[in-house]
C-alpha cells in the first residue's frame, strides 16, 4: 500500500505530517472558538433580553 | 456666523450616547453644557470641534472657526511660557501674545519653563492659548479644573471680553462662572437603546 519514497522518505512524510497538522489545528481552533463565542453570545442575548 | 447643530447623534466606543441634540449658538452668546458624568459631554465637544465624526445630524458654521481646549493643554514642559504661546500664535497665524499674557496675568512667569509651573498656572497658560488663536468660537471642556477662585474670575473676564468682541463660547462645566449664559442640559438627549433581539450593521 505504502509507496516507496526512496531516500526522501523522511522529507516527504514530514512535510505531509507538518502541513496536515497545521491545517487540522487551524480548523480545530476555528471550530472551538466559533462554538465558544456562539454560546457566549446566546447567553449574553438571553440575559440582556431578560433584564430589558 | 451662528453655530447651528441639528439632530446630532454621537457615539462613544461604538455605543450611541446622545441623540436628537440640537442648539444654535449666536455670536456674543455663551452656552453652558451640563449633565451627569459619563453622559457624553466630552464626546459632544470633540464632535463639534471636528475631532470625531457624528453618527447622524449636521454641524453648521464650525469649519475653521473653533478653538478647542480639552482636558490636557498641549503644553511642552521644556519650552518657556512665551515660547509655548508664540508657537500656537504662529500655527494659527494670529496676532501677538501680549494680550494673552495680560489676561491671565502670566507676565511674571513669561520666561519660566512650563514644566516648572503649578497645575493651576499650566491651566492658565492653556486658556491663554485660546486668546492667540483668534478663533471666534471657543469650545471648552472643564476649563476651570485646578484653577483657584481668582483665576476663575480672570477666566470669566476673558470669556466676557471674548463675547463682547462678537465671539461665542460653548463650555462644559459644573461651577457657576457668573456669566449670563444659557444652559444646555444634555440629560434628556440620552440615546434610547434599541431592542436587544435584533441587530444590523452596527451590531446593536
Amino acid at each position: 500500500m505504502m509507496p516507496d519514497l526512496g531516500k526522501h522518505t523522511e522529507a516527504v512524510l514530514s512535510s505531509y505530517a507538518l502541513s496536515l497538522l497545521m491545517l487540522v489545528l487551524l480548523v480545530a481552533l476555528s471550530l472551538w472558538r466559533g462554538r465558544k463565542v456562539r454560546a457566549e453570545m446566546e447567553k449574553t442575548e438571553q440575559r440582556m433580553s431578560r433584564n430589558g | 456666523m451662528t453655530l447651528i447643530v441639528t439632530d446630532l447623534a454621537i457615539a462613544r466606543g461604538g455605543v450611541p450616547v446622545l441623540e436628537g441634540l440640537g442648539f444654535a449658538l449666536e455670536p456674543g452668546q455663551a452656552l453652558v453644557v451640563r449633565g451627569p458624568n459619563g453622559i457624553g459631554k466630552t464626546t459632544l465637544l470633540r464632535t463639534i470641534a471636528g475631532l470625531q465624526p457624528p453618527l447622524a445630524g449636521q454641524i453648521a458654521g464650525a469649519e475653521d472657526r473653533i478653538a478647542y481646549a480639552g482636558h490636557s493643554d498641549g503644553i511642552k514642559p521644556t519650552l518657556t511660557v512665551t515660547e509655548n504661546l508664540n508657537f500656537w500664535a504662529a500655527v494659527f497665524g494670529a496676532r501677538g501674545i501680549l494680550g494673552a499674557l495680560d489676561a491671565y496675568d502670566l507676565h511674571e512667569l513669561a520666561d519660566r519653563h512650563a514644566g516648572n509651573l503649578s497645575a493651576g498656572q499650566k491651566r492658565r497658560l492653556g486658556l491663554a492659548r485660546l486668546l492667540v488663536t483668534g478663533r471666534p468660537i471657543w469650545v471648552l471642556d472643564e476649563p476651570t479644573v485646578s484653577l483657584d477662585k481668582e483665576a476663575v474670575g480672570k477666566f470669566a473676564d476673558a470669556v466676557r471680553a471674548h463675547l463682547g468682541q462678537g465671539g461665542s463660547a460653548l463650555i462644559a462645566t459644573h461651577i457657576d462662572l457668573g456669566l449670563e449664559a444659557a444652559t444646555l442640559d444634555v440629560g434628556p438627549f440620552r440615546a434610547v437603546p434599541k431592542p436587544v433581539d435584533d441587530f444590523d450593521g452596527d451590531f446593536l
Binding site: - | 465624526p53 478653538a67 478647542y68 480639552g70 490636557s72 498641549g74 521644556t78 508657537f87 500656537w88
Partner: protein
C-alpha cells in the same frame, strides 16, 4: 508649518538625547560588530556597507516611538488637528524634524564609523550618498508606523514589527548602492530605485499617515 518644525527641533535639543541618541546607538552597533564577527579587516570591509546601513536603520527605528507619542500624551495632537494646518502637513513636518534630528546626523557621522569598519576608499562617497537619499524614506515610513500605533500603551514593539517589513525595499537598495560603491561597481540602477522609493513615500505616505492619525484621534 515652519513654527512647528522649529518647535520640534527646539524640543529635540532641549530634551537632550534627541540628536545624540541615534548616534550613540549607531556607535554601539558599529563597535560591537567587529567583536561579534572577528577583527579580520577584509571581512569587515566586505560587510561594512551592510552593517552601516543596518545600524542607521535601527537607530532610526529606536527613535520612532517618541515621534508622535509625546504630542499625543499632552494633547498637542488634538489641538493641532483643530488648527488651520492640515494634518498631512503636520505629519510631513514631523517626519522632516525626525529626519533632521536622526537621519541627518547619521549621514554626516557615517564616514567616521566607516573608518572603524575598514570601509574601502570609494565606499565613503557612496555610503553618504545612499544614506542621504535613503534615510528620508525611513523617517516618512516610520512616521506612518508611529501614527498607526500612537494610541497604544505599549506600542513600541508593535511599531517595530509593523515598520520592519516596510523598511525592506529601502534597506535592500540602500545597502546595494553602498556595497556596489565600495567595490567600485556601477551604482546607477539601485540608486535610482532608492531615490524613487524615497520620492514616492514622501509624496504619498503622509496622506496615509494623516488618515490613520485622524482615526486615532477620534
Amino acid at each position: 508649518m515652519i513654527a512647528l518644525l522649529f518647535r520640534d527641533l527646539k524640543l529635540a535639543m532641549r530634551a537632550g538625547g534627541g540628536f545624540g541618541l541615534g548616534l550613540v546607538f549607531f556607535l554601539i552597533v558599529t563597535t560591537l560588530v567587529p567583536f561579534a564577527v572577528g577583527p579580520q579587516s577584509d571581512l569587515l570591509a566586505s560587510i561594512a556597507p551592510g552593517v552601516l546601513w543596518l545600524g542607521a536603520l535601527l537607530a532610526c527605528l529606536l527613535s520612532l516611538d517618541r515621534l508622535l507619542a509625546l504630542d499625543w500624551e499632552d494633547g498637542t495632537l488634538d489641538l493641532l488637528a483643530t488648527a488651520p494646518l492640515p494634518l498631512e502637513a503636520v505629519v510631513s513636518v514631523k517626519a522632516l524634524a525626525h529626519w533632521i534630528t536622526t537621519g541627518l546626523p547619521l549621514v554626516l557621522a557615517a564616514p567616521v564609523f566607516g573608518v572603524l569598519l575598514n570601509l574601502p576608499g570609494p565606499g565613503f562617497f557612496w555610503l553618504v550618498v545612499s544614506l542621504a537619499v535613503g534615510t528620508p524614506a525611513l523617517s516618512v515610513v516610520g512616521t506612518f508606523g508611529a501614527a498607526l500605533t500612537v494610541g497604544l500603551k505599549r506600542g513600541g514593539l508593535l511599531l517595530s514589527l509593523l515598520v520592519l517589513p516596510l523598511y525592506v525595499p529601502t534597506l535592500i537598495f540602500g545597502a546595494e548602492v553602498a556595497r556596489r560603491g565600495a567595490q567600485g561597481m556601477e551604482t546607477g540602477t539601485p540608486l535610482l530605485m532608492l531615490g524613487g522609493i524615497t520620492l514616492a513615500t514622501i509624496a504619498l505616505l503622509p496622506f496615509a499617515s494623516a488618515a490613520v492619525l485622524r482615526v486615532n484621534l477620534r
